[in-house]
Subunit: 227 residues, 2 copies
DNA sequence: CCTACCGATCGGTAGG
DNA sequence: CCTACCGATCGGTAGG
């Protein structure tokens, strides 16, 4: 899946010179080296944490020398921001795509199932280092980028609200929707701490099945029977 | 509340000399300096994370010089272990005390309420830095101490199992008890990320009330109506 | 993107 | 528990 790089707007975009637009270090996407850096950083930040990961670790992970990441990113914090931004962009995009596949008359319960299933995929599926890093390295992000990431996170979570409100109105959700949202996200996000993805033969199919099962269980836990 | 220090067995205890047993750096509890260090470390580890907190930060927080924490602890990791160990000991002790106050015929639902209420207190109440550090700095713990802390965590969680099983058998819990436990802990633990304790006038009473409310909401979300 | 490097900070220790 | 210190590592940069 390709993520639209065009959405990546830098915090403060200075004067645009004429002619071929010269990209800042944060914007350029020469080949795929920048992407490799972000993906490698995501993996290491998730495994070891942001502070415990050196920029040298990240450089080595993608076969660069110690100073080279700073050709692509202003700072270690900017790399963290890129991980989170890319993660949230992908998550939001996949969420919208998943919802778009639903038939027009889908019930709130069906829509919530799609949201939960997609969230598990974002958290536990392939390339799932980005969002856990966002969840657990939040405090290391600098304010400017925090605002930007937060905007995406708000949009992501906003899609859940009408469904939770409808379910609450129908008596299928036993708590105030705002609080229910926090608790449900907590329950789902925590899975990043304990879920062990299948490995070996037909790992991919079994992974899909296990995320389906998790989704079913989560809905059974959170929702009452339809009246 | 005093925590039994006697359970603190060092990783490798060498020859015991005769006479008054000389405590290792990890065991001694001269005055309250060691306790101050652990409490200060808990606060800083929670605020900034383990790796981002220097032993100098911790020393300064309790009015020591940079080298002095190493008079009390072998290493920074040992300090982290002490934070987690002390946190789990306190949590387990409070959980057992809370359960002991219940009448003999208390229902699984009533017992779960007490467990959830106590867990919120452990996570969000006064001196609540220890357990969040345990939850979010797990990977920085060394294996020896990880085993020790894990043992306490298992005992803590084990008290939840019979109640969840009983509730599931009664149709009040909509998912497999083992998975329900993970999701419920996720929902509760996540509150450490968003809960803002009341401040100002009568903060203490309002804090208690808000944790009571959270407990009620959580139970309403997770449990079906009794048949 | 590499080479070569800098100043700052870090965990930890010897000796008192 | 302090003083004084060490070697290692870190984020980041100049110049090519």
């Amino acid at each position: 899946m390709s993520l639209a790089e065009s959405d990546l707007s830098p915090a403060a975009a200075p004067r645009r010179p004429r002619g071929r637009p010269r990209k800042t270090a944060d914007e350029r996407d020469d080949g795929n080296r920048r992407r490799e850096l972000v993906a490698g950083a995501a993996r290491l930040f998730r495994q070891q944490g942001f502070s415990a990961t050196s920029t040298r670790d990240i450089a080595a992970a993608v076969g660069m020398r110690s100073g080279s990441p700073f050709y692509h990113f202003e700072s270690k914090e900017a790399l963290l921001g890129a991980v989170m931004l890319e993660g949230m962009q992908g998550a939001l995009q996949r969420q919208q795509a998943a919802l778009a596949l639903l038939p027009a008359g889908a019930s709130p319960r069906e829509r919530l199932r799609v949201l939960v299933r997609n969230h598990f995929d974002v958290l536990l599926g392939p390339d799932s280092d980005f969002i856990p890093v966002m969840l657990y390295e939040w405090r290391s992000l600098e304010t400017t980028q925090r605002v930007e990431v937060n905007r995406l996170k708000d949009r992501y979570e906003a899609e859940w609200v009408p469904e939770l409100e409808a379910l609450h109105a129908q008596g299928q959700l036993g708590a105030d929707p705002a609080l229910a949202r926090l608790m449900i996200f907590g329950a789902l996000n925590w899975s990043a701490q304990w879920y062990v993805p299948p490995s070996g033969r037909s790992a991919k199919a079994r992974a899909r099945a296990s995320l389906d099962d998790l989704t079913t269980s989560a809905l059974q836990l959170f929702l009452k029977e339809p009246a």
